[in-house]
Amino acid sequence: MNVKIEKISDVTVVMVEGEVNLSNSMSLRASLKKLMDDGSRKISVDLLKVAFIDSSGLAVLIEAVQNLEPLKGQLRLCNVNANIRGIFEITKIHKLINIYENRELALKDF
């Protein structure tokens, strides 16, 4: 898994590439935590190049949302493929994290 960071105006876009599973989800967690520590409060996680995520990856995203809440920050997801979107819906995590069709829509809604 690779993580690329891009700043667009006051939004930090986190482009994740590869699978998110228990062998690397802590690395994504560390990247998100560092962004928050460095002052990012609007974070959009782009999953365009992610084909698989397991429950450890879900946990990292939920935790990031929880950590941003007291900082008055927000996390958005975009470009989520159908299989992964299915997981978010089954687990009802889509009620905790806003999911957008593409990056532009996610950025627009911050």
Partner: protein, 134 residues
């Protein structure tokens, strides 16, 4: 379509993703659709992680056995640990308001939602997951 695979690994979390990837590679030769492959991968991953964590309690000397059988239009996955077993009905629903923000406890739920039939046998040491192939 017929295939049978049986493998076993020591209870080490870090080796699970590669182990699952190798199993999935062997399924890629079969005419299974992308959604089925995704479900199988997810369910195997979650079941093996549970077996290592909750079943064998990270005891590296305890094995996790995985069996895959594809026959008569059904795909069956079995994951067996060497732990004390558990009572499946005591596992809480992760989608209730009090549990939805928890950072763990979604594995069995995801498995049940992705498979057509899930059975716990051998006092919960074995999870048998069946998907009907379309």
């Amino acid at each position: 379509m017929y295939m049978q695979i049986k493998e076993a690994i020591p209870s080490r979390l870090e080796i699970i993703p590669d182990f699952i990837a190798r199993l999935i590679e062997r399924l890629n030769d079969l005419p299974l659709n992308e959604e089925t492959i995704f479900s199988v991968k997810l369910c195997l991953q979650e079941a093996v992680v549970n077996a290592v964590k909750h079943g064998n309690k990270f005891n590296e000397n305890a094995k996790v056995e995985v069996a895959i059988l594809i026959d008569s239009g059904e795909l069956t996955l079995e994951v067996t640990d060497q732990g004390q077993g558990f009572i499946p009905k005591e596992v809480p629903d992760p989608t209730t308001p009090e549990n939805i923000t928890k950072l763990s406890g979604r594995g069995i739920f995801l498995i049940k939602k992705n498979m057509n039939k899930v059975l716990f046998v051998n006092r919960g040491r074995t999870i048998r997951m069946t998907k009907i192939l379309k």
